[in-house]
């Protein structure tokens, strides 16, 4: 019987908290307007042989340090290194929601993408080809309706696969324009040499190019406190692996 941590990430107003409450049994009032969940909540749930510590990160549009919420969510994923990051997306607003999923995948491949509100999407005549998305993203993609309790078992099965390592991801890597890619290519080895292989070097290089001071501050904080432990995952993104 092992313990795993699952972080719940997603845009505001995607039903992330509904899912969280459903699994952990806590009572939180969910309303239908963006920005309501501002505090991180924690809970526990069991699935098959394992126990999962669930952390409900604040709903955020991105992980680019635009606000305290985003910094908190980002810091949790990078520094606490949850075993699985569950990204909850709104099926009726996929284009915008995928933004966050793609950002998460740049940080970690230990993710499961969960497309919620699938019942609403169907009502609005939206059809989603999960296989295609999963193929493009390189991680499991499950459609659910948290409030109707549809698809939850399948979701938890995928969470288990990723948590136990039964599934290893080949997460999608976004290629930016030439200028940015050049900058990343130069910076990434420097990053790795400075902070080790524990953190996603490419993503950090990207954030440094963007001038992300707050990430730097968080990095300093974390390096002060901890020894650089073994990396939990081999961060390989295709051809840009460094040795």
């Amino acid at each position: 019987m092992s313990h795993f941590t699952v972080a719940f990430a997603g845009n505001p107003n995607t039903g992330k908290s509904t899912l969280f409450n459903l699994l952990t049994g806590m009572r939180q009032h969910t309303g239908n307007w963006a920005g309501k969940t501002v505090i991180t909540a924690e809970g526990e749930f069991k699935h098959k042989d394992h126990t999962y510590l669930a952390v409900d990160l604040p709903g955020t549009y991105s992980l680019y340090s635009n606000s305290a919420d985003e910094e908190a969510a980002r810091d949790y994923i990078i520094f606490e290194q949850p075993d699985v990051t569950l990204v909850v997306l709104d099926a009726t607003s996929l284009e915008r929601n995928l933004n966050l999923a793609l950002q998460v995948l740049e940080i970690t491949g230990r993710a499961v993408v969960c497309i919620n509100l699938i019942d609403e999407a169907r009502k609005l005549g939206i059809d989603i080809n999960l296989k295609r998305i999963s193929k493009r993203l390189g991680v499991p993609v499950v459609a659910i309706s948290a409030r109707n309790k549809i698809g939850i078992e399948a979701l938890l099965d995928q969470v288990e696969r990723v948590a136990t390592g039964a599934f290893t991801a080949q997460p999608l890597r976004i290629t930016y324009n030439e200028e940015i890619e050049r900058g990343i290519a130069e910076l990434t080895p420097l990053v790795e040499q400075t902070i080790g292989s524990k953190y996603p070097a490419r993503w950090i290089a990207l954030r440094l190019l963007d001038g992300d001071d707050s990430l730097l501050t968080s990095l300093k904080e974390n390096m002060k406190n901890k020894e650089l432990p073994e990396a939990k995952e081999v961060i390989g993104h295709g051809v840009t692996a460094y040795h």
């Binding site: 549009y61 991105s62 680019y64 635009n66 606000s67 009726t92 607003s93 996929l94 284009e95 915008r96 933004n99």
Partner: protein, 84 residues
């Protein structure tokens, strides 16, 4: 169909614009980018609030309302006509 860029705040209700520029800076700029107001994306002007401000826009399949202070600093070219 190309045309001059106009601020979103002056676009007619029902028209669709392709964003050509964002003059907002700082935190708000990044927030707007995250919401889908990026150069090249299409924006549809839905309606104004009864009191005239804010204006509701449809971008990346989401409805976002912006105040005049912000929408006047986002520019786009009209690509879709006004519905009768």
């Amino acid at each position: 169909m190309s045309g001059a860029s106009i601020p979103l705040s002056e676009a007619a209700k029902g028209s669709t614009l392709r964003i050509s520029g964002i003059e907002v800076q700082g935190v708000l700029r990044r927030r707007l980018l995250d919401l889908g107001f990026v150069v090249g994306n299409a924006v549809e002007v839905l309606r104004r609030s009864p009191l005239g401000d804010p204006i509701a826009f449809r971008v990346s399949n989401t409805t976002i309302a912006l105040r005049r202070e912000e929408s006047s600093l986002i520019f786009g070219e009209v690509i879709g006509g006004v519905e009768a």
